[in-house]
């Protein structure tokens, strides 16, 4: 055997692949046969979809509450928002329970309230927000005559449910449902998520609001209802929210640094660059600037909605790749880069 073959040196200038990583001088990273040192989350498609509709519900409630507080009384907007939030808050727990390993034990989530556990905070927020949203939607349904006209129950619902008070009470809880989806990811050992703890909640919240505004304008456009001013406000808010979202995504990428690599991997890049950066940010923003038209608004809404979903899939899939990469985790947990207790905040 020649010296070259034994030492695993380069041949013809190219590194010779070695069976034993340790004998390959090209490899600097130490690990155990490339076996991931941490385990990725098992989450299947239900979770990114929940993140999407949860953010949508939170954003819709936020917009309608702000409209209400500013005295902008548009019955069509309130109706669309109330029923949207109700449907998202019915679907969210179904998706989450579906994803459990033991779905029949879902009520154990209500066994304790742990402020240190993002998952526990999320469960309780969903419970509170979902019930308040249910009451608000019930009042809306009574007003719309869906509970029958001239019946005691419907009249009691309209009279007894304090619309404004409940909307304001539900606002912080709802916003927490939207942002906590991001914080829930960052409170793990997965390098890509954990590194971005500062912007994870904000970026999910901004993206959720963007999908909510798109959804509301889509509904109002398709049903040809709502005041002209509502649509104008929705478009304006949507443009501003997309800008905030874009800034937060750039900040996230800067913060993630080398651990953002999974977002640009072959598997995730269509979702992240194609779906998120182009589909949810650039294209809707371009469509919403300039002369407004119904067709353009509908296309922008659809793009932002699909893009928001792709953003969630990109983050979850990227996190899986990040967790499976020993090099990423070991460089992350090597000291300087890992979040340390003395970090500010």
């Amino acid at each position: 055997m020649s010296e070259e073959a034994v030492s695993g040196q380069q041949r013809n200038g190219r590194p010779k692949t070695s069976h034993h990583p340790e004998t390959d001088p090209e490899r600097k990273d130490k690990n155990y046969y490339g076996i991931p040192p941490i385990k990725h989350a098992h989450w299947t498609w239900q979770i990114p979809i929940y993140f999407w509709i949860g953010g949508l519900g939170a954003g819709a409630h936020m917009f309608s509450t702000v409209a209400q507080l500013l005295g902008h009384e548009d019955e069509a907007l309130q109706r669309a928002s109330r029923y949207t939030v109700l449907v998202t808050m019915i679907l969210s727990p179904i998706l989450l329970i579906w994803d459990l390993g033991r779905p029949e034990r879902f009520l154990n989530m209500m066994r304790v309230l742990k402020l240190r556990s993002p998952m526990s905070v999320q469960s309780w927020s969903l419970l509170v927000f979902g019930n308040l949203a249910g009451l608000l939607a019930a009042r809306q349904a009574a007003k719309d005559g869906l509970l029958g006209r001239d019946n005691v129950l419907a009249r009691l619902a309209v009279r007894l449910i304090p619309d404004r008070l409940l909307s304001v009470l539900a606002l912080p809880v709802g916003l927490n449902v939207g942002s906590n989806t991001g914080n829930l990811l960052s409170a793990t050992s997965v390098p890509m998520w954990a590194r971005n703890w500062l912007f994870m909640g904000p970026v999910f919240l901004a993206s959720g609001l963007s999908t909510a505004l798109s959804w509301l304008s889509l509904v109002l456009n398709l049903t040809r209802s709502g005041e002209a001013k509502t649509l104008r406000v929705l478009h304006r808010a949507e443009r501003a929210t997309i800008l905030v979202e874009a800034v937060l995504i750039v900040a996230s990428l800067a913060r993630m640094g080398r651990w953002s690599k999974p977002l640009f991997s072959r598997e995730v890049v269509p979702l992240f660059v194609g779906g998120t950066l182009i589909g949810a940010i650039l294209a809707p923003f371009a469509l919403l600037t300039g002369r407004e038209s119904r067709g353009k608004s509908i296309i922008a809404s659809l793009l932002a909605l699909v893009g928001g979903l792709m953003f969630r899939f990109a983050m979850i899939r990227g996190g899986r790749i990040s967790a499976d990469d020993p090099e990423a985790y070991f460089t992350f947990a090597s000291g300087e880069s890992a979040p340390q207790p003395e970090d500010a905040v």
């Binding site: 340790e22 990273d29 130490k30 690990n31 155990y32 046969y33 076996i35 991931p36 040192p37 941490i38 385990k39 989350a41 098992h42 936020m62 702000v66 500013l70 994803d99 459990l100 390993g101 033991r102 154990n108 989530m109 304790v112 742990k114 240190r116 556990s117 993002p118 998952m119 999320q122 916003l175 906590n180 914080n183 960052s186 409170a187 793990t188 050992s189 954990a194 703890w197 500062l198 912007f199 904000p202 919240l205 901004a206 406000v233 929705l234 808010a237 501003a240 929210t241 905030v244 937060l248 996190g319 985790y329 947990a333 090597s334 000291g335 979040p339 340390q340 207790p341 970090d343 905040v345």
Partner: protein, 278 residues
């Protein structure tokens, strides 16, 4: 009293008796016949059905043998100059390490658990109550050591219980009982810590200056975890054994994230309110 393990990798012979004893006592299912092709270790990693895992770390040296080689000296890793120009750096080292749940002082899995299924029991061990776990799987990415894992067939998460049932009956855990070289030691955490320091000092005296204790707050326990109740005596960098150098408590940043989100929510609320301005 807090109990824990001390795993001295320097005397581990890689017999995997601990793996077998753990599987037998805890009635864990087989993992199938997998062939890694990497080493003789075909268990690969800890999982919901493997609570002890012996890693086989092959560290072949890079230079080839020259001259008249004394194989006995070679095997004993004698480092002094040998007659006949023999060079001793060829066999390398074949290290073994019996990995197990670290039973962190501030356990990330316990903090992540939304049902309160993961608790600290009376022996101060991190214990999953199987009748409460609903299989949300959030503890899995929280663990900085990749120990706790969901079993797909069962739905729930499992890991080393530190043989809670045996401890209650005054017995030592099955793996420690089965270990033929006393590489796995079980006992009071404070005693084990002292024992570990003694052993490391002894190794240093023998010339193995690379030996150290992993799982103390100083090494491999920073970032809020506060050390481990399962300590290890290691001879190489932690990454060689698939362990992180500085594991951290993921929940440490949750509060910061919530504050950042509240700021973002205020900004977005202001943006929406601005949009209403005529």
């Amino acid at each position: 009293m807090a109990t824990g393990f001390l795993t001295d990798t320097t005397v581990c012979i890689g017999c995997k008796a601990c793996e077998v004893a753990c599987k037998q006592w805890n009635q864990l299912p087989a993992d199938g016949y997998e062939f890694t092709g990497d080493s003789y270790d075909n268990t690969k990693q800890l999982s919901g059905s493997t609570w002890r895992h012996v890693a086989f770390i092959e560290n072949p040296k890079k230079r080839r043998l020259t001259g008249d080689v004394d194989l006995v000296a070679l095997a004993e890793d004698v480092t002094e100059q040998l007659p006949g120009g023999a060079e001793l750096d060829a066999l390398g080292r074949w290290a073994f390490m019996s990995d197990v749940c670290k039973h962190c002082v501030e356990a990330p899995c316990q903090q992540a658990c939304p049902t309160g299924s993961i608790i600290r029991n009376e022996f101060d061990n991190v214990y999953i109550q199987p009748d409460i776990c609903n299989g949300c799987g959030y503890c899995v990415p929280a663990c900085p050591y990749g120990v706790i894992t969901q079993v797909p067939e069962d739905g729930r998460a499992f890991k080393c219980t530190l043989c809670y049932d045996r401890q209650r009956d005054g017995l030592e855990p099955a793996c420690a009982k089965a270990c033929p070289t006393n590489s796995i030691m079980f006992g009071d955490v404070e005693d084990l810590k002292e024992l570990a320091e003694q052993r490391v000092a002894e190794l240093h005296n023998k010339g193995y200056t690379q030996a150290y204790v992993y799982g103390t707050p100083e090494v491999g326990g920073t970032g809020g975890i506060g050390g481990n109740h399962s300590k290890f005596i290691l001879m190489d960098e932690p990454e060689t054994y698939n362990l992180p150098k500085h594991p951290f408590l993921p929940q440490e940043k949750f509060r910061g994230g919530v504050i950042a989100s509240a700021v973002a929510a205020t900004v977005l609320g202001a943006v929406v309110a601005w949009a209403f301005k005529d």
